[in-house]
């Protein structure tokens, strides 16, 4: 789960991590009032969207007066920002962060992530701050330093010091920097983060150490113990179909195309998206319905795929292992009856590939159904090819 920068900074502040003074604004008037309350010579107006690269896309403005803040707030609120992380459709700005400007001496990079190989939280730092860390990693990997943290000990003071010296934090700021690192580690553990990224971390002209930007990501599997984080969810940032699917317990990712698929199992679902593309189709979605054959759940999945006229055809790809194909076939037929306006037909072609336990019985059920537009496929390849052809024909 992702949250906004201003929400991340509020969490950091509650852990004693130094962040710039600032408040969110949802309207122009609120932005101006926040700016006046700050009463600093420089005010930063930052668009709040769940994507990086806002600066380059014109989503961060430097203002010298409340009037300038008004102008920038008018410009940004409601604007669609397109960054390298939003995709070409961009994201609409609904919130701003109005923040005190800082006099920057130098920018650094600092983050905490979970390293898969070592099964440790790793703290990464670099004196190349304010730029994309992927670029630093590609060009000058020697400028990225890592400290692997023992979960029993936590971030050891020597590790924080070693990092501060490695990335050349100036001497008067070392202690503030290590304290900030300890605070960030506590946030990582305390809130079950999957990532804490500060880019840039800055040392100011006054030798203060401040998290100038903050990006927190949370482990979805641990949200059950963090209701305070769940409450920060901004639904306007999520794809409406993905949100609806999540509420129904479905694993769904919208991929934008028109050849939909419904699959059991995440691995097979990914592989099905790939095979649709392989045969020239544009995958509409990733969808793992899990192992059950409950008609209501399958009907919900069909509805989500068809919503807004997105799916022009659906490929159902099921491997019945423990579940029997005859039960799954019945589930599909019942679901089709639920969503069909007259109980007899589906709005788009549905090609069904069934394999595994009781496959003959399952295929017979599909073959003998009175519901129009359901086509059993003998093989996965055949099914993928057929749905791509049928969708192409429907568009022609």
């Amino acid at each position: 789960m992702n949250i906004h920068e201003y929400q991340s900074k509020e969490i950091l502040r509650s852990y004693g991590v130094h962040v710039p003074d600032g408040k969110p604004a949802f309207t122009v008037e609120e932005a101006v009032a926040n700016a006046k309350a700050l009463a600093t010579p420089v005010i930063v107006v930052k668009a709040q969207i769940h994507a990086g690269g806002r600066g380059k896309a014109g989503g961060v403005k430097i203002a010298k007066s409340a009037d300038e803040v008004r102008g920038y707030a008018k410009e940004l609120l409601g604007k669609t920002l397109v960054t390298h992380q939003t995709g070409p459709e961009g994201k609409k700005v609904g919130r701003l962060l109005i923040e005190a400007g800082a006099s920057i001496q130098k920018e650094y990079y600092l983050s905490f992530v979970v390293d898969r190989q070592t099964a440790r939280i790793v703290m990464m730092g670099s004196e190349e701050g304010g730029v994309e860390i992927e670029k630093v990693a590609a060009k000058t990997p020697e400028k990225i330093y890592k400290e692997y943290i023992d979960p029993v000990i936590g971030l050891a003071p020597f590790q924080a010091q070693r990092m501060a010296y490695a990335i050349h934090i100036p001497a008067p700021a070392i202690r503030k920097a290590t304290a900030l690192m300890q605070g960030l580690y506590k946030v990582m553990i305390g809130k079950d983060c999957s990532q804490v990224e500060i880019n840039p971390l800055v040392v100011t002209a006054e030798d203060d150490v401040i998290a100038l930007d903050a990006k927190l990501n949370f482990d979805d599997s641990a949200l059950f113990r963090h209701p305070d984080i769940v409450a920060l969810r901004d639904e306007t940032e999520e794809d409406p179909k993905e949100r609806e699917a999540a509420e129904a317990g479905l694993n769904y990712v919208n991929l934008g195309g028109d050849v939909a698929c419904m699959v059991n199992g995440a691995g097979l679902a990914m592989a099905t998206v790939d095979i649709i593309k392989h045969y020239g189709g544009e995958p509409a979605n990733f969808l793992d319905v899990g192992g059950d054959s409950e008609p209501e759940k399958i009907a919900k999945a069909f509805r989500i795929m068809l919503e807004g006229g997105q799916a022009k055809g659906i490929f159902v790809n099921i491997f019945g292992g423990i579940n029997r194909c005859d039960n799954i076939a019945n589930g599909i037929i019942e679901a089709a009856k639920i969503i069909s306006p007259d109980g007899k037909s589906l709005p788009v072609p549905v090609v069904v590939r069934l394999e595994g336990t009781k496959v003959k019985e399952g295929r017979a059920i599909l073959k003998n159904t009175p519901i129009a537009n359901v086509f059993p496929a003998a093989t996965m390849e055949g099914g993928a090819e057929e749905i791509v052809k049928r969708v192409a024909a429907a568009k022609a």
Partner: protein, 301 residues
């Protein structure tokens, strides 16, 4: 021969009184697995499918001599159950549970350091040694005995692959579902090492997916250490957009790392053939075996 489990492995089921666990206990018993006990705190004295239930893993191990465990415990308690199994000095723990918090698994991995216990999973279908034993939820009907080892990050793709191999007449030694979580127990290289040392395994099939760099690491390891046994592979997620979690907690391209293209390139560079689509996993292995003169030996069913 096989790796990790065979018909003599004595197994306990943690969380045995749960709905899914009791269902799968029956499935495992029917397959021939030696399930000797179960654990659910507070339910000692009961029995599930004729299997005695104990309050603790230690009690179950003392009474039955079990050396392996399968964990079906709900996500918020599962990490603790894995550690309980390790504390009882079991050789093997297979954790099926999905959605265990990542930082819980970081603690588990730390706890396992210096202990004898090998962990498979979590978020995995388990292990199946054809016609001998299965620990987990893999359907027994699709696998037939033979000489190809299977390692996979995905459940349904494991079944799909075993099904395609069996249909092509290629039996399997053991299929190991290592699971779809970012922090887990056994990884590709650990499983490859076991198959390297198993005289019955003549070739290995690897099924990977986006996220992390385990496939790239495995490709390098195979090139350096597994010249005698051919490996083929499949990678799921070629069309996955960056930053989106594709069902599995570990299936996410982040910071430009973990793309299918990188994995396919690394495997190909190591001389490992990669199936172009999921429908060709079996055919890719058959072609490899024929090329290496191993097809006849591996044609066991």
């Amino acid at each position: 021969m096989s790796v990790l489990v065979d018909k003599d492995t004595k197994v306990i089921v943690q969380g045995i009184t749960g709905k899914a666990a009791s269902f799968h206990t029956k499935q495992m018993l029917d397959y021939g697995t030696k399930i000797v006990g179960g654990v659910t705190p507070g339910k000692a004295g009961q029995s599930v499918e004729g299997v005695p239930v104990f309050n603790t893993v230690r009690d179950a191990v003392r009474a039955t001599g079990a050396t392996a465990s399968v964990v079906y415990v709900p996500a918020r308690f599962a990490a603790d159950s894995i550690m309980e199994a390790a504390d009882a000095d079991l050789d093997l723990v297979v954790c099926i549970t999905e959605h265990i918090p990542v930082l819980d698994m970081v603690k588990v991995r730390r706890y396992l350091e210096g202990r004898r216990t090998r962990l498979v999973g979590p978020n995995c279908p388990g292990i199946l040694t054809a016609d001998q034993a299965k620990l987990g939820i893999t359907p027994g009907s699709v696998s037939k005995p033979g000489h190809v080892g299977v390692i996979s990050r995905s459940g349904t793709l494991t079944y799909e692959a075993a099904f395609q191999l069996t249909n092509a007449g290629i039996g399997q030694t053991t299929t190991v579902g290592i699971g779809g979580d970012p922090v887990k127990g056994m990884d590709f290289i650990d499983a490859l090492k076991l198959f390297k040392d198993d005289p019955d395994t003549l070739a290995v099939l690897m099924i990977g997916e986006i996220g992390g760099t385990a496939e790239e690491d495995a490709a390098k390891w195979i090139q350096e250490n597994l010249k005698e046994k051919p490996v083929s592979a499949f990678i799921a997620g070629r069309q996955a957009p960056p930053g989106k979690r594709m069902g599995h907690a570990g299936a996410i391209i982040s910071g430009g790392k973990g793309t299918a293209a990188d994995k396919v390139a690394a495997l190909t560079a190591a001389g490992i053939p990669v199936a172009d689509t999921v429908a060709h996993i079996g055919a890719t292995m058959v072609k490899l075996l024929k090329g290496k003169g191993l097809f006849e030996k591996c044609h066991t069913c």
